[in-house]
Subunit: 304 residues, 2 copies
């Protein structure tokens, strides 16, 4: 089931559209040029999580694209309408719902963004990967890690609809028997997954006291700021973890006690292998994943 | 005016759709992921030009994307239907029509491409640029010129719907007062425009006999094979021009007697300036543009 709610000045709480019928113009530049932006967030029991972080990032993507989109309050109302309609159709408010926010440059010549909220059930694949972990390939993203600053037209900090390369990288991984991808820069830095941020953990024993360190690539390498990574880092810090921001090299992943792909819908997916090599041990991965998942769940519940 | 014709097994000649009403599902992966491919071709007096070259490139893009699309014959029928409907609505077969072919990965989970043909009037901007030329900026595309071969998931030889970067580069140029862009690789090679191929000409005097040479960047640098560039090269060769295939450096553009952006709709647009520096002289640009435009028009008319 999918619920669609278009942002529309004539409908302050959003205009509910029939998701089984065509709702977009074929000349919309979202469809003809991948010219638009999006966010995906998780709602639990009809409450969207870290909605402000997503709305902030949507606004930041819109600025990078010179795209004029509705105010955060309008999105909030449409999200509420979508989740209400979804719960009504499902007969329950319980459970997880994927909420996508999409803004395109609209129909050619119309000079008005097309904006909508989509609510749908999460894929069972993501849930299985949270539990069982993923096998990952390292793939070259083609860009060097300094290009984002010198070439803003590459839109590296924006979450655009132009995801064909991300989807092709995932298909490439699937064809090799892997589940997911970690992109590297052409100068050999670890970047991000096609739909996730990358985390790694090191645990050291300091005379009986474990020192736990959580590391993610630095944003200046041209990656998207991860809203879930941000929430986890804040929670981990409060729980006594040390935090680090890359440069991260592939060798750092291979030497880690655990590596995760982290994103809003799938949350923490432990990486079992990278290019066929096991990361850490199953026991440590399981233990650290359970610890960080508990921290993350509490942090995310606090943002509802 | 826009005419839409969807490829649909139930309608062998294509299903005409109302272009003023929504025709696409909001969950189509063309709209949500830029996950699809396209071609743009010019029809003159209701006859599409070099349609086979476009259908071949569409098929090649589909292979690069693992996308299953209808056979060329189905596209041909839909193109005929679209041009017939456009001429009927316009009240004439005369003049230029832009024909776009679009294939997306379809609605999430449906496992069937969404495919359509769109016929519309060309923008007056393109016609003016053919006549008056364009001012161009060189912008870094971020990729080095060898990445296409080692990273096929970057889809560099495919004409995908994920054009957000191309559109952002054009907006960047417009904001600087320029009209268009020539992308360079991170290792300093000339690549292509966001919606065009790049050509340059050198004219030498060999004891009273002019030697004319037409040069374009080599395909292995990760650019799209230009169907119009291909047609012009064949015609220019037959007319006695020498042909060359890059590597092309920015200095080669600056030293050229003329530079053009060439594409299916706008055809040959002479480049007046690059980064503010005039290319050759207005007199030579005008003369060479007239000569090559005549060759191109004859070559394209022969493909109708």
């Amino acid at each position: 089931m999918t619920v669609l709610v278009f942002l529309d000045p004539a409908f302050p709480a959003g205009r509910v559209a029939d998701a089984s019928a065509p709702a977009l113009m074929a000349t919309d530049q979202g469809a003809t040029r991948g010219d638009g932006i999006f966010e995906s967030m998780l709602a639990v029991n009809a409450k969207p999580r870290k909605v402000q972080a997503h709305l902030d990032r949507l606004a930041s993507s819109a600025r990078a694209m010179d795209l004029d989109i509705p105010a955060a309050a309008d999105w909030q109302l449409a999200i509420g309408t979508a989740l209400g309609a979804f719960a009504k159709a499902a007969g329950t408010e319980s459970g997880e719902v994927v909420v996508k926010l999409i803004a395109t440059r609209g129909v050619e010549g119309a000079n008005r963004a097309t904006t909508w909220v989509q609510a749908s059930a999460p894929s069972p694949v993501g849930e299985a990967q949270r539990r069982d972990g993923v096998d990952v390939l390292l793939l070259d993203r083609g860009y060097d890690s300094s290009v984002a600053e010198r070439a803003p037209w590459l839109l590296l900090g924006a979450k655009t609809l132009s995801y064909a390369v991300n989807m092709a990288a995932l298909r490439h991984a699937h064809a090799q028997g892997a589940d997911d991808v970690i992109f590297t820069s052409s100068d050999g830095r670890v970047l991000e997954g096609p739909t996730s941020s990358v985390l790694l953990a090191h645990v050291q024993d300091d005379g009986g006291v474990p020192i736990k360190r959580l590391i993610t690539p630095a944003l200046d390498s041209g990656i998207l700021p991860g809203t879930t990574q941000g929430a986890l880092f804040a929670a981990a810090k409060a729980a006594g973890w040390e935090l680090g921001y890359g440069p991260v090299l592939p060798a750092d992943l291979m030497d880690a006690d655990a590596v995760w792909l982290i994103s809003s819908i799938r949350l923490l997916a432990p990486v079992n292998t990278i290019d066929g090599t096991e990361i850490g041990t199953a026991e440590v991965r399981t233990e650290l994943t359970a610890e960080l998942t508990a921290l993350l769940d509490a942090a995310l519940a606090a943002t509802e």
